[in-house]
Subunit: 649 residues, 2 copies
């Protein structure tokens, strides 16, 4: 009998569920462990369980209730009520944040340094003398004269939109105004004029534009503090989950390029508005935005052509910083405000990596230091006394949960840590937010593999040791290691709940003899041989990048003084797991630092400090990029690195 | 009996005609001496005699033929066929150039200097090395590297629109491109990228934006030569003939401001297209535009608010140069091209005056030198060893033919020179293009007054000497001096025509006795007492400006080394006339130079030379503006100057 399962991919959790039979949408989502809102109990009257069908929007069923509750525009764009849909075919759906009981937490901040606050845009209050027939200076001269007299400053230029607003602001505010000067070069530019004294407020926005998520930080430019931050999913996910499919979408069709640009700009504008509103700030008061992101996100955000980036040899258009009026691409902040884009380094090393190098001070670390950003593409920088050299390596989406059967993103309910009792081979799992397990996220997989290796359940080639009694076979005869339900749970919700779940789960118990009898059932959470191969490939890609950088610079593992791991995924992994499975070279774990979202921190740093901006541009000019795919030793290293190291028993 | 005449004002000639009775429009126009096209003989079938009714557009009669020939849009905008209209009420009409047999000639060029051609925008041909996996530089870096290697140049920046076009241009042209670098500061900017080697062509446009006329010059930036020039009427004339009425239109209503801006930008775009087309150049190849004009034209062109400029104390928004992407205000040239606006000096001293000072080298003349731009506002600059000081004086539109009964602009048929035989008091007239006289233009009026004064027909207070037999009285008993028909004609068309016209005219003959009997008839061309007063006021305004500047700088007429008269009007006047009537101080006529449209020359100079641009900005920073209206001696000087000097018999 050929079993055909229905596969439902649920964004933004990145969770895939498999159904044997058609199931009501609301039930399917709730059963998967995702907490979607529903107040009417599935009658289709409350309208809370809105979902968006991403694929094949044209002929989706539409119930009477949906017709009643949804707007025409919503219907056209594939919005439906989960409770009114039957999941009877492969589907990809997106659950908007408003339909989730708990918004997915996106790590948007990282470890920050104390730096001198000295933004490129500064405010000056001016009490102008009123123009008379005896004093006929132009408005602009008058501003300049007062700027010079009071603050020793001079504007060489004024933004054209600001110029058109200037006379009214001056005259409606009794000649008392606040000018914002962008002091980039000697040619300072007036980019904002407000009535009265507004020097106590100065706001900027820093954006980390990731393939999956976007972090938007509202920054106080006077104090250098983050006022608020919002993490959202990158809505371009509707045009492809990974960079390459998005580039493919935009590559040949200018209309598509505009579309994929617009969706992200609209989304940032919306987030900007939200974050400003809830902090009682007018978005028009935001006087600068800095953006970091990988090179594809950088190009798509600016609406730059991507053909040369999507096809070999993968060339970025520009690797210098871009200063652009935000209005030119429709970013809705102060009309004269600039958008500052940190420079990409190469086709697959973006400005987010540069921001990380800046934020971690990698460039001035003593000795030899590795900086690493793990993702679908992993960027690695090696700082030696000769400078910084970097590579990009295609580590694939396994760490983000894709291509792993029960993989998911780091959302609540994801198994993030696994400990295997070497004697019983029984796993202990921990989940994000201590929710009932719904899948495995990247750090959980890393942790699982490390433990499987340590406990001898897999060997150094990654193969399951079929002698191990803790393994079981599925219907097709494939070996699986089951993580849930067969576990000890730690801290699930509260003790009461924990007990309940433990009882409801079919626990194999501590008696190892029982494992023998364990029968595989669908919808348990398990790891299969293919999952392990995916991780081997990902891990080998990263380690090969590191090895080639080290070899080229003639540095062995013992000469590495520090490894800095950046990024949300890197923040949650156990460094020892990474060393154990060989993703990182054998170094003492204490040399490893995890810094979280250093890219967002870098974006903030260049927003609040001119000096940091100069440093970042200087790094960009000096950093060397090494192409791995044409490196002669690449294949040898890669094959060697697909093997796990001898486990450290 | 009260006589009520119908007054028809005809633009762009600036001619007024007076009708006793309702008359067919085509006939009225042809009778006035204006050569409007008509091929069907007034049947309304050829559609050649299109006119635009400027006032009261709403309820103009519309014949069947007009409905047939004209588009709805035309009808809505007041376009009609002259032959289908009856001029039965006061009207203001505009005859578009396409309806005129001979386009009105607008002087668009002036005397030029030899300057070093060194435009701010230069082209460089680059043969780029193709990107490969071994050579992964970004497109922008690649361009910069080749620029540096081949030409020792570096671009710090690239226009955003150009950036979006760059990769395709590079790859569709086998990596051979021409970049245009704008070398303003150390931060050179790439503003244009073309495929192949386009270094042999480099085009710019210089615009002199006058209240009445606009001169558009297409310039070869390699050779510094004017390829072609077109003079058009400023279409804003539909919103008011003079600066103040246009400002009044735009002052309170942002919509009106946009409207009056758009009409001039559309018109310049159209002219640009025309001038480019006829020289086989794509407007997208034009890589810079420079614009000069009075401060009101400057502001309206940029769409800047004008309230503070229209009301006392008449403050301009800015008196620095503006560098603006031409696309920001909709000027349709190369997408990355800049618009360079020379700075205005004061509310009533525009950048056209600055351009004149530059083009005439006033600023570096030896000794004391006066530069003067005669118009509705006359700007006067006095250069001494202490620097340059300037004033603006409201000389009114008399020199442009307005407020003068038979006044008109300097169009074909305008009387431009008058010589009065002191014995017979009979005038000899010369007309522009030697056409049959249709009115008097500014230089003709100046010449008339000078001759009337010299021959004792008017006294130094401007009053007609009623003893003079050459004067006659009109129906109302007002004295008039008739210029035509009672004249000797010089060079009208050819000798045959000249004879014919002389015969058809009622010549008073050389016998002075006959003059006594001369009876005034309507539609003769004559000068009345009011005309003379208008000129006295205009002349006094100008002379007062000069006197106050001279007094303030302690310089008498004998210390003036040079007077430079710029502008179309100033080009045609006889300097001796100007001295005779006291408009200029008593200086030897040989010290006077007439340079024509120096403003357009200045606009061209700053387009083809960086150095000239710097000089102009330096002048603008240093020049002093003196407000006349608040000067304590203004009234005394003005009253004194309304009297003509003792004539030089």
């Amino acid at each position: 009998m050929i079993e055909k399962k229905i596969e439902i991919e649920i964004e933004p959790a990145g969770k895939r569920i498999f159904l044997e039979n058609p199931v009501n949408g609301l039930d399917a989502i709730l059963n998967s462990g995702i907490h979607i809102k529903s107040e009417c109990g599935g009658k289709g009257t409350c309208g809370k369980c809105k979902i968006i069908i991403i694929d094949n929007k044209d002929n989706i069923a539409l119930s009477k209730q949906e017709k009643k509750i949804l707007t025409d525009k919503e219907i056209k764009h594939g919005v439906r009520l989960a409770c009114q849909q039957i999941f009877d075919r492969n589907l990809k759906i997106f659950i908007p944040p408003s339909s989730l009981i708990e918004e997915q937490k996106l790590q948007i901040e990282g470890e920050e340094l104390d730096i001198r606050v000295d933004p490129i845009c500064k405010k000056y209050f001016l009490n102008l003398e009123k123009a008379t027939l005896e004093d006929l200076k132009s408005d602009f001269s008058r501003i300049n004269e007062t700027l010079n007299k009071e603050y020793g400053k001079k504007a060489g230029n004024i933004d054209f939109k600001v110029l058109t607003q200037m006379p009214l602001v001056i005259r409606e505010n009794s000649w008392k105004i606040t000018t914002t000067l962008r002091e980039k070069t000697k040619e300072n530019e007036i980019i904002f004029i407000e009535g009265g004294n507004k020097t106590a407020n100065n706001y900027g926005v820093a954006v980390d534009l990731g393939t999956t998520k976007i972090a938007v930080l509202l920054i106080d430019l006077l104090r250098g503090e983050t006022i608020d931050g919002i993490g959202i999913m990158n809505p371009q996910i509707a045009f492809g989950e990974d960079v390459m499919s998005r580039l493919g979408f935009a590559i040949n069709d200018n209309h598509n390029l505009r579309k994929i640009q617009k969706i992200v700009i609209d989304s940032i504008n919306k987030t900007l508005k939200k974050i400003c509103n809830r902090n009682k700030i007018n978005p028009q008061q935001v006087i600068e935005m800095t953006v970091v992101g990988n090179t594809a996100m950088h190009h798509l955000f600016l609406g730059l052509p991507v053909r040369q980036l999507a096809l070999s040899p993968f060339i970025p258009l520009i690797n210098s910083a871009i200063d652009l009026k935000a209005r030119e691409i429709g970013i809705d902040i102060s009309p004269g405000a600039y958008l500052y884009m940190l420079p990409p380094i190469a086709g697959f090393v973006g400005s987010d990596h540069l921001a990380m190098i800046l934020a971690t001070r990698l460039y001035e670390q003593e000795g030899n230091c590795i900086g690493i950003d793990i993702g679908t593409n992993t960027e690695i920088a090696l700082k030696t006394e000769k400078g910084i050299e970097c590579v990009s390596t295609a580590s694939g989406p396994a760490f983000e949960g894709a291509h792993i059967e029960y993989g998911m993103r780091a959302a609540p309910g994801a198994i993030e840590k696994v400990t295997i009792n070497p004697d019983t081979c029984i796993p202990t799992i921990e989940t994000i937010s201590n929710k009932k397990p719904t899948g495995i996220c990247g750090s959980g997989i890393l942790s699982s593999i490390s433990e499987l290796l340590r406990s001898g359940i897999i060997d150094k080639s990654g193969k399951f040791n079929s002698n191990k009694k803790c393994l079981c076979k599925d219907d097709k005869g494939n070996l699986r290691y089951i993580l849930f339900p067969q576990s000890y749970y730690k801290n699930i919700e509260n003790e009461e709940d924990s007990k309940k779940i433990n009882e409801s789960a079919e626990i194999a118990g501590e008696d190892s003899e029982n494992l023998k009898e364990l029968k595989y059932r669908n919808n348990t959470i398990s790891i299969n041989q293919k999952d392990i191969v995916e991780i081997q490939l990902a891990m080998a890609a990263i380690r090969t990048g590191i090895d080639i950088l080290m070899e080229k610079n003639n540095i062995g593992p013992n000469k590495i003084d520090k490894v800095i791991i950046a990024g949300a995924f890197g923040y949650y992994i156990n460094p020892e797991d990474a060393i154990n499975i060989g993703m990182l070279p054998p170094i003492p774990a204490k040399k490893i630092t995890q810094v979280g979202n250093a890219a967002a921190v870098g974006a903030k740093m260049v927003l609040i400090s001119r000096e940091e901006r100069e440093i970042a541009e200087e790094i960009a000019r000096k950093i060397k990029y090494l192409e791995l795919t044409t490196h002669p030793a690449f294949s040898d290293f890669f094959i060697k690195n697909t093997f796990f190291p001898e486990p450290d028993k």
